[in-house]
């Protein structure tokens, strides 16, 4: 199963309003509204895109060790995934 299929399954289950999430319809509608507003804001179209230069960064990893993009680029290309968090 692809990642998107798993995400779609999760979404369908959540939006069914049934267990285990028992999400109220009002809450589901709020999520839809927020996503639609974000889409219409055009923010995604203004984000960095193919051909742009990626900013250099140094951020701490899970152990508190600073990780520098410059050092990663010395080894090879880099895939970056931005995620919201696991709540």
């Amino acid at each position: 199963m692809t990642l998107q299929q798993k995400l779609d399954d999760f979404k369908a289950q959540f939006e069914s309003g049934g267990p285990p999430y028992n999400a109220p319809m009002a809450v589901i509608e709020i999520f839809h509204r927020a996503t639609e507003e974000l889409r219409q804001s055009g923010l995604a179209e203004r984000a960095l895109k193919t051909g742009d230069r990626a900013p250099a960064f140094t951020l701490n990893n899970q152990d508190g060790t600073p990780i520098s993009s410059v050092e990663l680029f010395a080894k090879g290309p880099l895939a970056i995934t931005f995620f919201r968090g696991h709540w």
Binding site: L3, I30, L38, L43, A47, N60, L78, A79, T81, H86
Partner: protein, 132 residues
């Protein structure tokens, strides 16, 4: 789910000599907990104050009506992020070459849509084939 899927793709990514990092605004202790729980082989980086996500143009402020729902569900972004601004990055996946040029970008205003790890692998493959 996305991090697990990327973990499954990690050997292939590393085989090409590429690196993978995940970036979120969550403080280190939360990153550490995800890293352990999912047994990840790549780094989970803490983007304090969403500085890097801002540079990529990914950051939005939660509208008040959404913030209320988040708090009802225990999504205490203020605690998780160490700031009161209730901001999040749009989910995004980038492939960047060694000259820091973005070669593939997928930004999703809909948090329920994510690119497949296979797309990232293909983008990396093209780069390594091209000898970049």
């Amino acid at each position: 789910m996305e991090l697990e899927a990327l973990q499954a793709a990690l050997p292939e990514i590393q085989h090409m000599g590429a690196s993978l990092v995940a970036i979120s605004p969550q403080l280190e202790r939360y990153g550490r907990s995800i890293h352990r729980r999912l047994n990840l082989g790549f780094d989970v980086l803490t983007d304090r104050g969403l500085q890097v996500a801002s540079q990529f143009g990914l950051v939005f402020v939660l509208p008040d009506y959404l913030k209320t729902v988040y708090l009802q569900f225990g999504n205490k972004l203020d605690e998780f992020h160490g700031e009161n601004a209730f901001r999040l990055p749009m989910p995004a996946r980038y492939v960047v070459d060694q000259q820091s040029v973005i070669r593939s970008a997928n930004v999703s205003p809909d948090y329920t849509r994510r690119p497949e790890p296979g797309e990232t692998i293909s983008a990396l493959e093209e780069l390594t084939k091209a000898g970049a």
